[in-house]
């Protein structure tokens, strides 16, 4: 067992670190992005930074070189993501780079790859994920949105919910039912829907996390050409599992959390009034606990990525990592707003908000993180089953 980077990984880490030190403008460094997970948007300077990344193939470092990526190994991707987080560098949009692109690379025709991949890599095209529907809960395959064949098109009717970023997306990864009578997993097709098509209505869901905002998306006789179907007719669920696999294999990056804990420590070191208000010992112990936990989160994610590197599928190991990380994010947020005192409640953007309002953002988002991508309850179920050998609950 060895907890060290291999010599090659260490060299790569150094390369990324050097690159970030020399190329990333200092005022673009902000941990907000790593926490919020929004990704680079329309900001001009961030778009310049995206071009800098593109020169190395580091916009989509996991993609094969043939499609404009860097073909990094699983471990190198992890190292890359760690260093980006440590430097608080703005990152390309995950939905496009991490989900849509890789799914198209696996299942797309040559035309589809040509049409979509470059727009994703340039950061011009945002994507959203049209999987969830109201009432379906965690059983995604019970979706009701219909796609009916009509000449060269399909006509879509129905509704999606919890669609992050739908309001600014050019395309949607859309699942719709193309065969009503088939078993639920076998009548679904996967479309690369143009969000400018007539009949689409996007309505924001006002929520406490605000960013990335959730939306409802309504389809009223929306036409999607057959050429925008990804994979085969009625085989869309299998294409979707590829997307979901990419989504699930995302590893909680303990480095962002650790960075935040250290920023909190710095905040406390500087602010005597804060220390006085909450009592120094409480502060010490609470921060110490969070620091411990952030380190644990890092070690746990190392294990998952090491397993993936070897082609082993992490089961309860992934669940433990996710459970621990998401609950830790909540604890850090609570510790943070508590230490921030009255200032801790100020919103991002308020000039008096400590840590540029990241406490506020994390506090509002972290409560959702135990829900998104499998609630804590589900993770505990996996652990009971795979770790302790209990039957399904």
């Amino acid at each position: 067992m060895d907890f060290r980077d291999s010599p090659e990984d260490a060299a790569f880490r150094q390369e990324v670190r050097d690159f970030l030190r020399t190329e990333l403008p200092h005022d673009l460094r902000a941990a907000d992005d790593a926490i919020l997970g929004v990704g680079i948007g329309e900001d001009e300077r961030e778009r310049d930074w995206l071009k800098t990344l593109a020169k190395r193939g580091w916009v989509a470092p996991a993609w094969p070189k043939a499609y404009g990526g860097a073909g990094l190994s699983v471990m190198q991707q992890f190292v890359f993501n760690e260093e980006m987080a440590r430097a608080a560098a703005p990152r390309p949009n995950f939905l496009a780079i991490g989900l849509a692109g890789p799914t198209i690379i696996v299942h797309g025709t040559e035309e589809q790859k040509r049409e979509h991949l470059s727009g994703i890599l340039s950061g011009e095209n945002f994507w959203c994920q049209g999987f969830s529907e109201p009432g379906a809960g965690s059983d995604l395959a019970s979706l009701q949105t219909r796609a009916v064949e009509d000449g060269d098109d399909y006509i879509i009717n129905g509704q999606k919910i919890w669609t992050s970023g739908a309001h600014r997306s050019q395309r949607m990864m859309l699942l719709a039912r193309t065969e009503a009578d088939a078993p639920k997993h076998k009548g679904i097709s996967y479309f690369l829907l143009n969000m400018q098509s007539p009949g689409i209505t996007v309505r924001p869901l006002t929520n406490m996390a605000d960013t990335p905002s959730f939306n409802e998306v309504f389809f009223d006789n929306v036409r999607v050409p057959k050429s925008d179907m990804l994979g085969e007719l009625n085989r869309g669920w299998y294409v979707a599992t590829t997307t979901l696999d990419f989504e699930r294999s995302g590893i909680i990056n303990g480095v962002s959390l650790q960075r935040l804990v250290h920023e909190l420590a710095a905040f406390v070191r500087e602010r005597k009034d804060v220390r006085d208000d909450v009592g120094l010992e409480s502060v010490r112990h609470e921060l110490a606990d969070r620091a411990i936990e952030a380190e644990i989160s890092i070690v746990l994610s190392y294990r998952v990525v090491t397993m993936q590197t070897k082609g082993i599928v992490p089961n309860q190991e992934a669940s433990i990592t996710k459970l621990f990380g998401s609950e830790l994010a909540q604890r850090i947020a609570r510790t943070g707003v508590k230490l921030g005192g009255l200032y801790g409640q100020l919103r991002q953007g308020s000039p008096r908000a400590p840590l540029n309002g990241r406490l506020d953002a994390l506090y509002r988002i972290a409560i959702g993180s135990t829900l998104a991508g499998g609630t804590s309850e589900i993770q505990r179920g996996v652990i009971a089953q795979r770790g302790l050998g209990m039957p399904r609950g």
């Binding site: 109201p134 809960g137 965690s138 059983d139 919910i161 919890w162 309505r203 869901l205 006002t206 929520n207 406490m208 996390a209 959730f214 409802e216 009034d273 804060v274 006085d276 208000d277 909450v278 009592g279 409480s282 707003v337 508590k338 005192g341 009255l342 801790g344 409640q345 100020l346 919103r347 953007g349 308020s350 008096r352 506020d360 506090y363 509002r364 409560i367 959702g368 135990t370 829900l371 998104a372 609630t375 804590s376 309850e377």
Partner: protein, 392 residues
């Protein structure tokens, strides 16, 4: 010992409830934590409806517009108002300022200010906290310098609730910079429309502009605006006032939300053919909230019982603060966990369950835990006064 309200008290509760049914819209689901223009306007209108009953400041002496309500009647009143989630406006004037004027004000000041409060016409904000003064309020830096018949005020206040809506502010400022810090402070009554006063909102998490910064740039306050003696303002500001009863019965709102949450768990499917409230984890979580609520309620009643007997609650009041803050935060977290993604929605959309109340409570409680002494400070009080442990 007696653990029941009297028949008279229950009759009074019925009277308040009947009034509220009349005064609030039939689909009233409650005031939001976040104050916006519309809800604030509604609150001011509601004040006007309360005024004829003398229910704006019911604990005040009758001669100043109150009813001299007993402590227990005030609990009944607050519980009914809290459970109905009636709008809350001008609490600083009713709870702190009015009683302070009654105690320290001269006849002119009483005549000028008290009727406006009990009629619901004039709304006040409180100018105590300053940036970086932390919990040591007495280290304030705002200066008031005498100039003829006026004082000239310069400086800044922070965390001023509803300053952007208020008509007047009660404010403390340093009038003798050379005196020991507690002895050079005076207490002023200031019209917010006075030139030189500017208000900048502090946007807090709850999406509301509840808090503000207020800046004073050569603001001229007439000498008639000085309350009590010059340089004795600190002692006026820190007087414990028997009229502050707004906290009594405060758990009624928590109870209503818990009932809402239970109804939610009854209505929603558990995704496996049952209802959410069939799940043992949900049942236990809600039962634990009920225990905490019950505990908080008992503790408040005990404090009221002491007050009603003329005793001054000491650490007993601190205990309530620790518990109720914790309860509201726990309720928000547990509630959001039970509600899933839907819990995070707010606004009027069809998916926002319980109108986003839990989400708003989750973000609003960040401030609550701090305001009025952190939990740690309360614990220290108990350790010292209750257990005789040495000071730190």
């Amino acid at each position: 010992m007696r653990f029941k309200f009297t028949d008279e008290q229950e009759a009074f509760r019925g009277e308040v409830n009947a009034f509220l049914k009349d005064a609030l819209p039939s689909d009233w689901e409650g005031a939001d934590n976040a104050i916006d223009d519309e809800s604030y306007e509604f609150g001011r209108e509601f004040l006007k409806k309360l005024a004829p009953q003398r229910w704006i400041a019911p604990a005040w002496p009758k001669q100043y517009g109150g009813l001299e309500l007993s402590h227990w009647d005030q609990v009944v009143y607050n519980e009914a108002m809290g459970y109905a989630r009636a709008p809350i406006v001008n609490t600083a004037a009713v709870g702190y300022l009015g009683p302070t004027i009654i105690l320290y004000g001269n006849d002119e000041q009483k005549a000028q200010h008290l009727p406006g409060i009990t009629s619901g016409e004039v709304v006040w904000c409180q100018g105590y906290s300053e940036p970086n003064s932390g919990s040591d309020l007495a280290s304030l830096q705002t200066r008031a310098v005498a100039d003829g018949d006026e004082f000239i005020l310069n400086g800044q206040k922070i965390w001023t609730s509803q300053a952007h809506y208020a008509d007047w502010m009660f404010v403390i400022a340093r009038t003798d910079p050379d005196a020991p810090k507690h002895r050079g402070i005076s207490y002023f009554l200031m019209d917010m429309k006075t030139p030189g006063v500017s208000v900048r909102p502090l946007i807090n998490m709850a999406n509301g502009e509840g808090f503000n910064e207020v800046f004073f740039d050569n603001v001229r306050i007439p000498k008639t605006g000085l309350l009590g003696e010059l340089n004795r303002g600190w002692y006026i500001a820190t007087t414990t006032l028997d009229f502050e009863r707004s906290a009594l019965g405060g758990s009624a709102g928590v109870q209503r939300t818990l009932e809402d949450l239970t109804r939610f768990a009854k209505a929603e499917s558990d995704g496996a053919g049952g209802r959410l409230w069939d799940k043992p984890l949900v049942r236990h979580a809600l039962a634990d909230l009920w225990v905490s609520l019950d505990v908080t309620k008992m503790l408040s009643y005990r404090v009221v019982s002491m007050q009603a007997r003329g005793l001054v609650p000491n650490y007993e009041a601190s205990i309530i603060k620790v518990f109720s803050t914790d309860l509201i935060q726990k309720q928000a977290r547990v509630g959001l966990g039970i509600m899933g993604l839907y819990g995070g929605l707010w606004g009027d959309g069809p998916w926002a369950k319980l109108r986003g109340r839990l989400a708003k409570s989750y973000v609003a409680t960040v401030g609550t835990a701090i305001a009025g002494g952190t939990t740690e400070i309360q614990r220290n009080i108990i350790a010292q006064r209750g257990l005789g442990l040495p000071r730190q």
